[in-house]
């Protein structure tokens, strides 16, 4: 069922891709947000509790890391698209 996803997955010997954030310990302790553009950084167990501001191409959006998020990428939580909402008049 998931044959292709397994075939196209990252090599196991490389391990997950992640970045060392210098202010990580501080962020977990004091709740100071880390500004980052590394959307492709995998969330590792030691990052749980940290606060990030993840770039979505335009703004830095707040992401609070919880246990459930481990194994996902930071970018998945900072949405890049605006939801379309219809407006009757152009002036408003």
């Amino acid at each position: 069922m998931h044959g292709t996803t397994v075939a196209l997955a990252r090599s196991v010997w490389k391990g997950p891709f992640f970045v060392h954030f210098p202010g990580l310990a501080e962020s977990i302790k004091e709740g100071k947000a880390i500004k980052t553009k590394m959307r492709s950084c995998t969330i590792m167990p030691h990052m749980v509790g940290a606060r990030f501001m993840v770039h979505n191409g335009k703004f830095y959006l707040p992401v609070r890391v919880t246990e459930n998020m481990v194994g996902r990428k930071l970018g998945e939580f900072s949405h890049t698209r605006k939801t379309f909402s219809y407006r009757m008049t152009k002036n408003k």
């Binding site: 459930n68 998020m69 996902r72 939580f77």
Partner: protein, 142 residues
Amino acid sequence: MLHLLGVNLPDRKIVLVALTYFYGIGPQTARKVCSQLSIHKECKMNELSETKVNQLSSILSNMTLENDLKRKISANVHHLREIGTYVGKRHAMGMPVHGQHTLNNSKTAKKLNRRWLRKYSTSSRLAPVFGILQSPLSNKQD
């Protein structure tokens, strides 16, 4: 009619086809199961011997099928939604998840995607919430 794990398998069907009546078994998996039990391509359900049927049911009972599978998928989607990923959001919106175009079409996603968050809600955390929502209605009926 052969009744296996809550699904009726018609006698006159070829085994390969009849197996696909299960939710979670397509042609590919059906072929695998058949080759595992050395059932030939054109064998029909009523031609199966009793031992073969027993073997078949034992194999099927070890697989995640029907409601178990639906519950599993639903739980996965719920998890994605709860942690706030883009994929979960797309599921909730009933839009395609894998970056397909949405200018027109995307019919399948519109039809299917939202249902995982609606039905089969069996996660224990949501159960009390639904209980509260349903309780006024049940009181009225009483």
